[in-house]
C-alpha cells in the first residue's frame, strides 16, 4: 500500500496531536476549524486543481448544508441526521441543475457565473429573514449525538471532524488514483483529446462539481451543529475566495497541497493576531511572497524542491562510487 504511506503518516499525526498537547486551544479549537477547511479545500481541489475548472461560489454549498441543518432542527425539530441528509439531497439536486448550464462556460466566464451564484445564495440567506434570521443569523442549533454518544466537548468535536476530514482525504486520494481521476486530469490537460478517448467531458466536470458541492454541504451541516449558530458572513464571497486561496496556496492538483493550504491559511491569522492592526497587511505580504517564490504552491513547491535536492546530492555521490568500483 505504498500509495497511502503519506495518508497513514497524516492519520498518525492527527491522532497524536491531542495526546501530545492535551487541552491545547490550537489543537482542539483551531484544529476543528482547520478540519472544516481541509474538507472544503480538498473537495474544491478536485474541481479546480485536478479538473482545471474554477468555482468562486463554493461557500454557497457549505452554507446551504449549514442552513438546512439549522432551519430543519430549530424550526421543525428534526433530528440532526435527517436534516443533514435532506440538506445533502437538496445540494445534490441544486448543484446538478446548475452544473449543466454553468459548466458550458470556461475560464473567466465560469468564474463570473459561480461568483454570481455564490452571491445570490448569500443574498437569499440575508433577505429571507423569516427563515434564516437574516443578517443576525440563527442560534440555538442543537449539538450532535452519535448513537447516544453526545459530541459535547472540544475534544470530541476534534475526533468527529478528524474522522470526516481523514475520510475526505482518503476519498480524494482514491479518486485521483483511478480511472475517474485520470479522466478529471485529462479534462484539464486537453478537453478535445479527452473526448476522443471517450471521456464525456461535460458529465465528468458536472459529476465532480456536484461531488465537491455535496462534501461542502455535509461539512456545512457539521459546522452548524458544532457552532450552534450560523450567520450569512460564514458563507459569503470572501469565504469562497478563501477556499480557493487554500487550494492555490498549498499547490493545485495535490490533495496534501490542499490540506497544507487549509492548515496554513487557518493558522496564520491566529498567529498573526499579535501584530494587531498590521495583521492583515502581514498576512497579505506572506501570501504574495509565497506565490512569487513558490508559484506551484507551498506543499508542491517544497516537496519538489526537496526531491530535486535529494537527486542532486545523489548524483554527486554516484561518480565517486563509480570511481571506487573502477
Amino acid at each position: 500500500m505504498k500509495r497511502l504511506h503519506g495518508f497513514f503518516a497524516f492519520v498518525a499525526l492527527v491522532a497524536m496531536l491531542p495526546v501530545l498537547f492535551p487541552d491545547n486551544y490550537f489543537v482542539t479549537v483551531v484544529g476543528v476549524t482547520i478540519g472544516f477547511n481541509i474538507v472544503l479545500a480538498v473537495a474544491l481541489n478536485l474541481f479546480i486543481g485536478y479538473a482545471g475548472q474554477i468555482s468562486l461560489g463554493h461557500a454557497a454549498f457549505f452554507g446551504m448544508g449549514a442552513y438546512a441543518s439549522a432551519i430543519l432542527t430549530t424550526r421543525y425539530g428534526w433530528s440532526p441526521w435527517l436534516a443533514m441528509g435532506v440538506g445533502l439531497l437538496a445540494v445534490y439536486i441544486i448543484a446538478t441543475l446548475i452544473s449543466r448550464p454553468i459548466l458550458k462556460l470556461k475560464g473567466h466566464y465560469l468564474a463570473m457565473a459561480t461568483l454570481g451564484f455564490g452571491i445570490i445564495v448569500n443574498i437569499i440567506m440575508v433577505q429571507t429573514v423569516d427563515w434564516t434570521g437574516g443578517p443576525d443569523g440563527m442560534s440555538g442549533i442543537p449539538g450532535l449525538e452519535i448513537f447516544g454518544w453526545a459530541v459535547d466537548s472540544d475534544l470530541r468535536w476534534y475526533g468527529v471532524i478528524a474522522v470526516v476530514m481523514l475520510l475526505t482525504v482518503l476519498v480524494s486520494l482514491n479518486i485521483i488514483d483511478s480511472r475517474a481521476g485520470r479522466a478529471l486530469r485529462a479534462v484539464h490537460g486537453s478537453e478535445i483529446a479527452a473526448q476522443t478517448m471517450g471521456v464525456d467531458t461535460v458529465r465528468t466536470k458536472s459529476q465532480v462539481f456536484v461531488f465537491s458541492a455535496c462534501l461542502a454541504s455535509l461539512v456545512g451541516s457539521l459546522f452548524a451543529h458544532q457552532q450552534n449558530f450560523v450567520s450569512p458572513v460564514s458563507f459569503d464571497f470572501f469565504v469562497s475566495i478563501e477556499i480557493v486561496t487554500m487550494v492555490v496556496l498549498g499547490g493545485m492538483a495535490s490533495t496534501f497541497g490542499a490540506v497544507f493550504g487549509a492548515i496554513v491559511l487557518t493558522l496564520l491569522p491566529q498567529v498573526l493576531v499579535v501584530f494587531d492592526d498590521y495583521e492583515i497587511l502581514i498576512l497579505g505580504a506572506i501570501l504574495v511572497s509565497i506565490m512569487i517564490f513558490l508559484p506551484q504552491g507551498l506543499f508542491v513547491g517544497m516537496t519538489q524542491g526537496g526531491a530535486n535536492l535529494l537527486r542532486r546530492l545523489r548524483n554527486r555521490e554516484t561518480p565517486a562510487r563509480a570511481g571506487a568500483d573502477g
Binding site: N174, R179, A180, G181, Q195, M197
Partner: protein, 261 residues
Amino acid sequence: MADVALLEVRGLEKSFGGVAAIADLSFAVTEGQIYAVIGPNGAGKTTLFNMLSGVYVPTDGAIEFDDGSLVGLAPHQIATRGISRTFQNLQVFFNMTVLENVMVGCHLRSSIGLYRAALRLPGVVHEERQVRDWALEALAFCGLGHLADRSADALPYGELKRVEIARALAAKPRLLLMDEPAAGLNDTETVELRELIRRIGESGITVLLVEHNMGLVMEISDTVLVLDYGSRLAEGTATEIQNDPKVIAAYLGGEVQYAVQ
C-alpha cells in the same frame, strides 16, 4: 474480392460562413487498409478529420462507419464506435505521466466511475492493474516502454507524438485517424514512424492518414486520396497517383503539366 467498406463518406460538405472547406466529397475505406489523404495546404484535410471525429458537424452528407451513421455524434460517442485519433498539434496530457496518458486511452475498455473509485470498492484494484497492463502493452508496441514513468512534459517532441499514437492504440480502435504524424519529425524518427504505422496496419487496425510527407505516404499507403479545394482530385494506388497529371499539376503548378507531356 468483395471488400467491405469500414468507413464510407458520401456527398460530404462543410462550409464556414459560405466558404466551402469540403464540397461533395465521397470515398470509402476498406477494412484493414492504410488509406492516406493528401493535398496542398488548405485543401480541407484537417476539416475532414474533424468531421470524422465529431469535432465539426458536416453541413451536408453522410458518414457511415460499420453501417452506423457518425453524423451528429459528439467526439466521445464516436470513440465508443471504435474510432481513435492523434492530433496534428500535440494534445498530450502534460499534467500526467506517459503511462497515465496511455491509461486514459483505455477509458472505454474500463468502467469504474467516480463514486466506486472514491470508496475503492472491490474491483477497482483489479481493473487498475488490468488497465496498467493494457497501457504498458501499447507503450511497448510503440517503443516507449522505458519512458512509462516519465512526466509527459519532460519528453521531446518526437516521443510525444508516439505517446499520442500509443494512447490512441490503447483504446483498441478499429479505425485509427492520424493527423500528420510525421510533421516535425527528423528522418530517423520518420523511418521509425513508418515501421510503426506498418505494424499497426498488420495488427488489423484500419488506418486513415493525413500527411504531407510524400515519401512516407507513397511507401505505406494502400490507397491515396488527393484533395484539392475541398473535393476529390484523384484516388488510387501510390503509383497511380504519382503518375496522375492532375495531381502533378495541383502540386507543382500548371507549367509542369506541359513539361510532363
